[in-house]
Symmetry: C2
Subunit: 190 residues, 2 copies
């Protein structure tokens, strides 16, 4: 049973990359079987609910990661400037400096949105609330903090879209760097 849990958990990163790369619909069972090296039998053994359960398991893991590495620090870190800076670092690492796409954002635009709508909503809503709080503690007024938070999230998501569209991850990096400057993490260079 230790083995079972371990192996199911090992599957999640592979499934996540598959969904990121192909989307939910286009990641067929044939493709999943090929990339995981597992037959349908095993796949349905670990995920009796089929693809939908796979996607939900992946989203669970993503939720967990962001809660642990991003949202919670934003809420609890004493120094809010550090908290926001840390968020940018974590995000940069997670999205591999623009080479990786945000699965939640992609699902939001894609055909299958309705199937995961509520999860998608809370993911961004939680992020937005946590970030707004940190910005307020950093001295911004309530309205300004909320506006800035939305702007930061949009820049991150839009940066991923642009980096993918232009096939140039550097776009994402430049946007993050610009954000650091604007948020006072660095001094403007010129």
């Amino acid at each position: 049973m230790a083995k079972r849990a371990a192996e199911r958990a090992d599957l999640l990163p592979i499934l996540a990359e598959l969904f990121r790369e192909y989307g939910f619909e286009a990641a067929s069972l044939a493709l999943i079987g090929e990339r995981t090296g597992l037959g349908k039998g095993s796949l349905y053994h670990f995920f009796p609910g089929g693809k939908e359960e796979m996607a939900n398991a992946v989203l669970d893991e993503i939720d967990g990661w962001f809660e642990r590495e991003v949202f919670k620090p934003l809420r609890e870190e004493a120094d809010p400037q550090r908290a926001v800076g840390g968020m940018l670092t974590a995000v940069d690492a997670y999205f591999r400096s623009g080479r990786r796409v945000c699965l939640v954002g992609a699902l939001a635009l894609a055909e299958t949105r309705s199937r995961f709508a509520e999860r998608i909503r809370t993911y961004f809503a939680d992020w937005n609330v946590a970030l707004t709080g940190a910005l307020q503690r950093a001295g911004h007024g309530a309205v300004a903090a909320a506006a800035l938070s939305e702007e930061i999230l949009a820049l991150i998501q839009g940066g991923l879209v642009l980096a993918r569209a232009l096939d140039d991850p550097a776009v994402f990096e430049r946007l993050l760097a610009g954000l650091r400057v604007r948020l006072g993490q660095l001094l403007p260079t010129s």
Copy 2:
């Protein structure tokens, strides 16, 4: 033949909404037939290349619209401030204030990216070049203009992702309004 051209053109908006709503893969021929009221025979009569030709025709139309209504004004309008402000107005109208998704951006994230990669690239590259030029003429240095242009495009795309994810078009509107303020189209309100 006048009839033929007219009817094929009339199909494009329907196809565009279909692709926006469901994505390329999930917009099945059955669905397309249902929404257009046309059988497969007619569809393949107008688009012998099948779905791919439909998508390319839609992308042609989008390219044309943006070239005419956005890129060209950005390049040619005498007053660059006005040009950028006009762009924001056009974009707001086109995306129905955040209720409509950017098909090109969605394709960039989706499974079918590779099939339209070059078109997606040039769409954003053209936009970026035109906007950078206008910003330079508005007084920004070359580097600053390029950075600001990328930031504006990312905000628009990210705003559409967020609006869709949060199921709240107002997010997009707020981001556009914020942009107007930052670009000096309006005075800050507080």
